[in-house]
């Protein structure tokens, strides 16, 4: 039987159906279906900004010069200080058995160094204008990545608005079990009659 893979993007898209703002549930569900069907989604400005910012951080971490007038320079340099010396953009996968079936859990670590996984997040709102702390408490990413890298003991979300940074740290023992999260995800798919779509579109 063909193995089916699961990514953090898929799990986060599913989780957003429950964590979105009230009144946006239909939109979140429609977006989840698009992700599940692996349909091309429009690249938004926020996505492009995130990619451009991350690229700037990685360049700075490698010691490359960032122009003094470059957008988000301050934030990129602060993130670079955190991830310097780490391996960048590390693709990783590991089989995971949930409810008697083996899936392939896949991810890309933004940075990995000495037992710590780093994930760079570009924040569209200024750190001065919104409460960010606790933002990633229920995120599926750190439980998934702790499973992918069993040797890692710590996960740091390194958020930046382009000027400052905010770091949210999770230890392995504070993290929920990814098996339970995937179990809930699969139950949701079964309830919604979406298991066939999942098996077909996410076959390895």
């Amino acid at each position: 039987m063909t193995m089916v893979h699961i990514t953090k993007t898929l799990l986060e898209s599913w989780r957003y159906c429950f964590s979105c703002y009230e009144g946006y549930e239909d939109e979140a569900y429609a977006d989840f279906l698009k992700t599940l069907r692996r349909e091309q989604t429009e690249t938004t400005e926020a996505m492009l900004n995130g990619l451009a910012f991350e690229d700037r951080c990685y360049r700075a971490a490698e010691g490359k010069t960032i122009r003094t007038d470059a957008k988000w320079r301050e934030g990129a340099l602060k993130v670079a200080d955190v991830i310097r010396g780490a391996q960048i953009q590390v693709p990783i996968s590991r089989p995971i058995e949930v409810d008697g079936t083996t899936y392939l859990l896949k991810g890309v670590l933004d940075a990995l160094k000495a037992g710590v996984i780093y994930d760079v997040k570009f924040l569209s709102k200024s750190l001065g204008s919104a409460d960010v702390y606790g933002k990633w408490l229920n995120c599926t990413q750190h439980p998934a990545y702790f499973y992918l890298v069993p040797e890692a003991h710590e996960f740091q979300y390194v958020g930046s608005d382009g000027e400052d940074i905010y770091i949210e740290t999770y230890q392995r023992d504070q993290s929920p079990d990814i098996h339970e999260i995937i179990h809930d995800f699969l139950e949701f798919l079964k309830t919604e009659g979406l298991m066939d779509v999942f098996a077909e579109r996410w076959a390895v």
């Binding site: 391996q87 990783i92 160094k113 408490l137 890298v149 040797e151 940074i165 905010y166």
Partner: protein
């Protein structure tokens, strides 16, 4: 500068940075000054609400400059902990300081440029904290009032009462941060984050810890004992981690040499075998795989999953 190896590191004098927040009247100030040899910077006139038996030396100020002068005075030497009460009021003092001393914080009409004010306040807030912890080597405790806000679904969540970016960035360097609340008629300092409040626990300081009821004869030492417990935990963690970290550093040094020597497909495959045979530690195996892949990519090679070897792009 001196290079100190992990096995020679001394954590017996480790200092801490902490946050205590909660509703007014919960006893946050009294709890904060239970830290070792504290001095209270009373931005919020909170000392009057501390029972006389538990009061400690206090910096009472009307401007940020006065605080700076006191902090730099020789009298500070005897204190081990600086309690900032409250962090929210500290930001207000910093905004006032910025308005009075920084030209660009005033508009042409003489009114405050709030964006600039917050910018200076944020930078100074962090610089002040760094000075206490890194230069003066003292513990710092930030006390904040909490305020109830609504989350996306309208459920109440507790947040720090503080303006500007400091309410986020203050968590960065903080070792632990607890939300003080009543649970079953007991005061609990809660260090594990939930959907209702954020918190930060580390070095064995996790979960909900009961804060004892104080009377005039009870020594106020809760935070002193907490710091002691965390320090003990760091020493234990360090003992366990030192060997592993040393091995990690050694193996990563070895890997770097191996990867640097890769020049073509043959040396890449030799490196693949050599790296695989090394005795790895922490995440060195995954990191070295990523290092070798990056070098192979630079040389125009790709990894063939079937043959489990690097091949040239043409091959």
């Amino acid at each position: 500068m001196a290079i100190v190896r992990p096995e020679n590191m001394d954590f017996s004098k480790q200092t801490f940075s902490a946050i205590i927040y909660g509703s007014p009247g919960m006893g946050k100030t009294t709890l904060a000054i239970s830290a070792p040899k504290p001095v209270l910077i009373d931005f919020d006139n909170g000392v009057s609400r501390v029972a006389a038996a538990h009061r400690v030396p206090t910096i009472v100020c009307s401007t940020y400059e006065e605080v700076l002068a006191d902090i730099d005075s020789p009298d500070m030497k005897e204190f081990e902990t600086i309690v900032i009460d409250t962090g929210g009021s500290f930001v207000t003092y910093l905004k006032d300081w910025a308005f009075r001393t920084k030209k660009d914080c005033k508009t042409q009409k003489g009114t405050p440029n709030t964006l600039k004010q917050f910018g200076y306040a944020k930078s100074e807030f962090m610089a002040f904290t760094e000075k206490i912890t890194k230069v003066m080597h003292k513990n710092v405790i930030y006390v904040f009032h909490s305020e109830e806000k609504a989350d996306k679904d309208g459920n109440p969540v507790q947040r720090l009462m503080c303006e500007g970016a400091a309410r986020n960035t203050v968590w960065n360097g903080c070792d632990f941060g607890g939300y003080l609340q009543m649970i079953n008629n007991e005061r609990k300092l809660c260090f594990t984050p939930t959907d209702d409040y954020f918190a930060k626990g580390t070095h064995g300081i996790v979960g909900n810890i009961t804060v004892p009821v104080l009377d005039a004869n009870t020594p106020n030492v809760f935070m002193t004992q907490l710091f002691e417990k965390a320090r003990k935990s760091i020493i234990e963690e360090s003992d366990a981690n030192t060997k592993e970290r040393k091995k990690y550093d050694e193996v990563m040094g070895e890997v770097k040499k191996i990867v640097d020597a890769v020049t073509d497909v043959d040396t890449a495959n030799q490196a693949l075998a050599t790296i695989s045979d090394l005795e790895h530690a922490m995440t060195s195996k995954k990191e070295s795989g990523a290092m070798l892949n990056a070098k192979a990519k630079e040389l125009g090679l790709k990894y063939n999953g079937k043959s489990k070897a690097y091949v040239t792009k043409e091959g």
